[in-house]
Amino acid sequence: MSKMLLGQLAKDMSIYFFVAFGIVLGGSILGGIAALLTRQPPFHTMYELAFKLKIWGMVGALGGTFDSFMQIERIFQEGDMSPVIKQIIFIVSAFIGADTGTRLIHWLVHGDSI
């Protein structure tokens, strides 16, 4: 049973990770294309967008603005701690995804800071 739960957790974690990663990566690359079309420095724009989208990648992956945090608050009030830990794991997973995306863009743009 716990193996199944762990498997489900891993699946959810990977989804949160890749959604956050995709938001940062896709947003930055498409922003770069837009910058290229509007005669702005594309790599510089991508670099800045990667920073700005980091937090939004995380929030987007968690499904809304503050839903997860509201849920944590509700669970705290009910006294059951295991969903709180689950939510924290998802938040950390989304953060790692967003951070990886940001670092990847920085590496792509400047070839360093990874």
Partner: protein, 160 residues
């Protein structure tokens, strides 16, 4: 006119989206290839714009300095014009050469200084004798016009 049915578009929408995805992929690849160069060129444009602003400012400053220098230069002797009253052109040319050398110190001097020194100039010209082709010539300053172009009217007399 035959209007295509909606089902046809629904069937082909995935191909259109695939086409759009292909465009986006191609643009992304293109961006990754030329992005660095475009960034470098944008940076160069910014630097050149900045340099241009600096050069324009420098030019304005130089113009101001030039104007002030011109204003200053208006009050100094810029050139010396000698009008020698002699019939012999060769003597005139030789005397001019020697006089210009002797009076060269007046160039660049303020007009006020020359005005105060006019007697000295007259004496200096009168005291000197110049030897040309074994003949001695004495000079007499008849008229002195003090302006940025200093005009000196000099009588030439041969000493016997």
């Amino acid at each position: 006119m035959r209007v295509p049915s909606g089902a046809y578009w629904r069937r082909s929408i995935r191909f259109i989206l695939l086409y759009i995805l292909g465009i986006l992929t191609g643009m992304s690849v293109f961006l990754l290839i030329v992005g660095d160069e475009v960034d470098r060129l944008h940076l160069k444009i910014r630097k050149l714009e900045q340099e241009n602003v600096e050069y324009v400012q420098e030019k304005i400053e130089y113009k101001k300095i030039e104007n002030s220098l011109i204003q200053k230069e208006k009050n100094v002797v810029k050139e010396i014009e000698l009008h020698l009253q002699t019939k012999d052109g060769f003597v005139e040319a030789e005397l001019k050469k020697k006089l210009i050398k002797d009076l060269f110190f007046l160039k660049g001097k303020p007009l006020d200084y020359v005005t105060g020194f006019h007697e000295g100039i007259m004496m200096m010209v009168a005291e000197r004798t110049y030897t040309i082709n074994n003949r001695m010539y004495s000079l007499q300053l008849s008229t002195l016009v003090i302006s940025p172009s200093l005009h000196m009217y000099i009588r030439v007399e041969e000493k016997r």
